[in-house]
């Protein structure tokens, strides 16, 4: 490995764990590194409140941020390749719209956190199921799948509008609106197991097949001529990817832009070969959301919804990337 590549690899390997530990220290109640260390390893010398803060509030939240960031980035990367379209993001198949409807429906009936999460997850999968059904019925070309995603998103957005319309504007509508803005304040250990399991299995899958994702960026005929059975591979990638996004959205709500921007940053950094791109996207996604969530919970006296923050930072970031891309092509000054 050449020198700049080795440096990039070290940055990508070290940044997420360092930011993870930093996120445990920063907050409205500052924690010293040695206190965090004692709390994490069950040593004496820290108060019960501090131990509880680290272990039961900040630790699960940091896990959620890292997992969700990595999931959205990895799936966005895989989907951009699969649909041969760099403007695709992890929400393309209606996952987010389904999850938003599911969560709002549960909130309408004043359900608890676990039920909201479960409902969001379930309806995210229903949405993707509908898209897949449309795809199967009409030949599973990527174009049909994309159109199916747009249609299903529109359907669930309409249903979401209906729920907002009938929701009690004093009690339930604010809860729905707040959930839709996205945030990790509800990330307790109790809601994390599905996310952690899905992230672990899904990430393992993508790490194993990552080189083959390159072949999905070829046309169907070309991939077939290379001996790749492209439709089964594409279906499995879509299935695993959407389950990862669904689990993420169910915990974190609507967190946009990570799945669109991070893949571009990763590609600009390590190139388009998915062998390096998938791990890089995971690292950058996890690091980005750890930073953004730390800002979200510390910048203002009250928490900033994460969806707002990713938009405020994601849009300028995307604009700069676009400018750089156009400059490289000589189409902008």
């Amino acid at each position: 490995m050449s020198e700049p590549h080795r440096r990039t690899a070290w940055i990508l390997v070290l940044a997420p764990p360092i930011l993870f530990l930093t996120a445990l220290l920063i907050g409205r109640y500052g924690v010293r590194p040695d206190e965090a260390f004692r709390a994490l390893f069950g040593l004496d010398g820290v108060s019960g409140v501090l131990r509880s803060l680290i272990l039961r509030v900040r630790l699960p939240r940091a896990f959620a941020a890292a997992c969700i960031g990595a999931n959205l980035a990895v799936c966005g990367t895989a989907f951009q390749g699969l649909f041969r379209n760099p403007l695709v993001d992890s929400r393309i198949l209606g996952v987010s719209s389904g999850a938003a409807f599911g969560a709002s429906l549960a909130l309408l009936f004043s359900a608890g956190a676990a039920a909201v999460q479960g409902s969001a997850f379930a309806f995210a999968l229903v949405a993707v199921g509908l898209v897949t059904l449309v795809g199967w019925r009409f030949g599973a070309s990527t174009l049909v799948i994309v159109i199916g995603g747009i249609l299903v998103s529109a359907l669930f957005n309409a249903l979401l509008g209906l729920i907002k319309y009938v929701a009690d504007p004093l009690s339930k509508l604010p809860a729905i609106t707040y959930w839709l803005l996205g945030g990790l304040s509800g990330s307790r250990w109790s809601v994390l197991p599905p996310l952690l399991i899905v992230t672990g299995l899904g990430f393992a899958f993508f790490v194993l097949v990552r080189w083959r994702l390159n072949l999905l960026t070829l046309s169907d005929a070309e991939a077939t001529a290379l001996g790749v059975r492209i439709r089964p591979l594409r279906s499995v990638v879509i299935l695993v990817g959407t389950v990862m996004v669904a689990a993420s959205v169910a915990v974190g709500g609507m967190i946009g832009w990570i799945g669109l921007v991070v893949p571009h940053v990763a590609r600009a950094w390590v190139g388009p070969d998915h062998k390096a791109l998938i791990p890089a996207a995971a690292a950058i996604g996890a690091a980005t959301l750890l930073i953004l969530d730390t800002i979200a919970r510390t910048a203002l006296p009250s928490e900033i919804p994460l969806g707002i923050l990713t938009g405020l930072i994601g849009v300028p970031a995307f604009f700069l990337l676009l400018l750089r891309f156009l400059r490289a092509r000589g189409e902008a000054r």
Binding site: N214, A225, P272
Partner: protein
């Protein structure tokens, strides 16, 4: 490696056959040109030969084994496709693009290793573009891209390469560069099936020629015997003249009414705008 099609029929929709009773064969060390007008079924034929499409009747065999009896991987290790150059969405390096040719040698969860990278280096060397390995595939010329796609077929381990209009979008110099490589590889034992809109290229580079006319393989044979003014007329529905240079090389000229500079031509002394 011998690739043969035996009386194949193919229809995209029932009742409208694109290929009717097409037979052809190419042996190792041979280059077969498939000529025919637009819409005569050349690309469909190539898809049937590569196994991307399966003919409704008739058989395609490679060394006597039917394509339908081979797994997709085994088929891809025998037959490679060199598509018309295309602009990929993502800027892979030439080396990464050729490495994709190793797909039929790698399992679902495998990643390319030393052996695969050696195969890529050998393939790039065989077509003479070793220096391009680290260049972005999106940033090389059309002619270079054709050579890189041939290299991908070689990395695949294919003995027979199918080329779809390799001369499209290439100037004469680059056409010659690509076909030179094809001839060299044919001498090394590979077999080629090449579709072309340029019958002159068939005269220059083909060992055998097939004319597709309305989806049927009417005229077959060596270029010297198969390419005649009559067969060209049958294929393209217009008149041609075959001329000989001093060294005996034949060339095809379309008979056009207004040929600038031709003896006795109307426009021998420039355009005539009706001076009277």
């Amino acid at each position: 490696m011998r690739l043969a099609a035996d009386r194949i029929h193919y229809a995209y929709r029932p009742g409208t056959e694109v290929l009717r009773d097409v037979s052809l064969a190419v042996d190792e060390r041979r280059t077969l040109f498939v000529l025919g007008a637009n819409g005569s079924g050349k690309t469909t034929l190539l898809d049937c030969l590569s196994g991307v499409r399966t003919p409704q009747s008739g058989r395609v065999t490679v060394d006597g084994i039917r394509l339908t009896d081979l797994s997709a991987r085994d088929r891809a290790r025998r037959i490679g496709v060199v598509p018309q150059s295309h602009e990929p969405v993502f800027s892979y390096t030439v080396g990464q693009a050729v490495l994709m040719g190793r797909a039929p040698h790698l399992g679902l969860f495998e990643r390319p290793g030393r052996e695969d990278r050696c195969a890529v280096a050998r393939a790039l060397d065989a077509v003479g573009v070793t220096g391009l390995q680290d260049r972005p595939y999106t940033g090389i010329s059309g002619g270079e891209r054709q050579l890189v796609l041939i290299a991908r077929g070689l990395a695949q381990g294919a003995g027979c390469l199918l080329m779809d209009e390799p001369a499209a979008h290439l100037d004469p110099h680059h056409q010659h560069a690509v076909f030179n490589v094809v001839r060299q590889l044919a001498d090394d034992g590979f077999s080629f099936v090449v579709t072309s809109h340029h019958p002159n290229n068939a005269l220059l580079y083909a060992d055998d020629v097939v004319f597709l006319v309305d989806g049927a393989s009417l005229i077959r044979g060596a270029p010297a015997t198969a390419i005649t003014e009559e067969s060209l007329h049958a294929a393209y529905a217009m008149e041609f003249e075959i001329v000989r240079s001093v060294d005996g090389t034949r060339a095809i000229l379309p008979r056009v009414r207004h040929r600038p500079g031709a003896v006795g031509g109307r426009s021998a002394s420039g355009p005539d705008y009706g001076k009277s």
